[in-house]
Amino acid sequence: MLITTLSFPEQLVLTLAALILLTSFLMLAQVRLDSLINVFALQGLLLFSATVLMAFISGKYHLLISAALTLFLKVFFIPIQLRRLVIRLDIHREVEVIGNPSLIMLFAAGLVLFSYYVALPIRALSLLSTRNTIAISLAVVLIGMLIVISRRKAVTQVVGFMSMENGLFFAAVVSTYGMPMVVELGVAFDVLVAAILFGVFFFHIRTEIGSLDTDRLNRLTEVDR
């Protein structure tokens, strides 16, 4: 599917897909919690605009409901909640050291290629004009996982998890015009509950081991070393 054969809104969706991938990369590189949360909100905003566009392209207006959910949850509610949490935990100025930023970035670029390779057979099944973005959304999921793996602070891991969810949602929207409404609502509330639960957990982890560094949790093994 050459880009020249697509209509302008579809091109815009593709561009938004690429920008979402860029925000994933930015999250991977971000060391400050504040800006990490901002980038996460930006990703939500891009996701929202992509969903709205898809709704108008396809004429399936139930997508607008999920778009509104995205806007409410991922652009406003969760980032604000996270920011309040960060301020209450007094870690908003903390800088997190990433092991080796450039190596991780290159690995992420490799992941993009890999997900393209994986998505090739899936792509053949879809008939939508925007099916090329499946690879992108898969890459967003994988990079979200990479964020969870490569970070040590619990807050960043949660943001990585949320961005994985963003990737899944995006895949659903662009490849099949969205999941059934019930599933979507379920996932959205899942994420919401998760965000609140994580907040509670942060406090517990912190009071128990005095830090949000999840590597410290290694000491909680049963076996006494």
Binding site: T4, L12, T15, A18, L19, L21, F25, A109, N132
Partner: protein, 314 residues
């Protein structure tokens, strides 16, 4: 034949325009920082004064040191001559494509850093060392951005690329957006603008370009400075004509050329405003933060390439 004459004229115009571009950015910057500052014509006076002054040469200077200003300047002029600035009907563009253009800039840098090493002072060596470090990181990102562009137009010839961009209908290419962002970052690094190097500084420990030309004087210094201004103009022209290609003349008809000149001058002045604002609001990065800056440029170019392959061709 008219084409060749036109190419000569265009090169001459760009060469003569370059000091104004540098002065324009400097003047705007001064204004933004609440200073009066020298007017935008100041670089012409500086160059004239320098070219009249006597040349002081260190005892340890070798022929490389004396030849370097001429090499650097003439290589940059040739590089300018292959870039379609006003019109795409440029016979010289066939002489060298984008890869050769990158090669020219690398050649100029090679001699510049050799000249920095030549006198044997610590500053020159330091400047050369930093320059080659930064350029070796910037070059892959630069080529990657150019590759994406030329894969889009299926040509590495700048004339063909630009006319392809102008002629085709407006299409939102994600890949071009990313590679232009990457290219702009590389351009900032390569022309020694603020997050990487400060063009105004003579503070010894932070300078890169100034450190290399520290021992030059008289007309040699004038050539070196002029080459740096040319490089700034060259990158600005590339940004102007590749990112916002509209307005470039497709033929050599007088009306088109007039329009082309008007368009390119407007675009360059606007870019100067952007650059001045960006330099005012930003601070210089530490040298060892520069790899991250260029890493971002590389990632952007890489994403451009990937989105070309994943999104646009598949």
């Amino acid at each position: 034949m008219t084409g060749w004459i036109f190419a000569m004229m265009q090169t001459l115009c760009v060469v003569l325009f370059a000091p104004f571009m540098a002065g324009w950015v400097k003047w705007l910057k001064c204004r933004l920082q609440n200073r009066r500052g020298p007017g935008p014509w100041q670089p012409y006076r500086d160059l004239l004064k320098l070219s009249r002054k006597e040349v002081l040469l260190a005892v340890t200077a070798s022929p490389v040191f004396r030849a370097a200003p001429y090499v650097v300047f003439s290589v940059t002029v040739v590089a300018v001559s292959v870039v379609p600035t006003v019109s795409v009907q440029l016979p010289t563009a066939a002489l060298a494509d984008v890869i050769v253009l990158v090669g020219f800039l690398a050649l100029a840098r090679f001699f510049l850093s050799l000249a920095g090493m030549d006198i044997g002072t610590a500053f020159g060596g330091m400047g050369s060392s930093r320059e080659v470090t930064i350029s070796s990181l910037a070059e892959p990102a630069l080529l990657m951005a150019f590759f994406t562009l030329s894969m889009n137009a299926s040509s590495t010839n700048l004339s063909t690329v630009i006319s392809h961009l102008v002629r085709s209908d407006f299409i939102l290419y994600p890949s071009l957006i990313f590679s232009s962002m990457g290219f702009i970052l590389v351009a900032i690094a390569e022309t020694g603008r603020i997050p990487i190097d400060n063009p105004d500084t003579h503070l010894e420990l932070t300078m890169i370009h100034e450190a290399m030309i520290l021992e030059y004087s008289g007309r040699h210094l004038a050539l070196m400075e002029w080459a740096a201004m040319l490089k700034l103009t060259l990158y600005s022209v590339l940004i102007a004509n590749l990112v916002i290609p509209w307005g470039v003349a497709l033929t050599l008809a007088p009306g088109d050329i007039l329009l082309g000149i008007l368009a390119v001058v407007c675009k360059l002045l606007a870019l100067g405003v952007l650059l001045a604002v960006a330099e005012t609001v930003q601070a210089k990065l530490r040298l060892f933060r520069a790899p991250q800056f260029l890493g971002l440029a590389f990632i952007l170019s890489l994403l451009g390439m990937m989105s070309h392959i994943i999104l646009e061709v598949g």
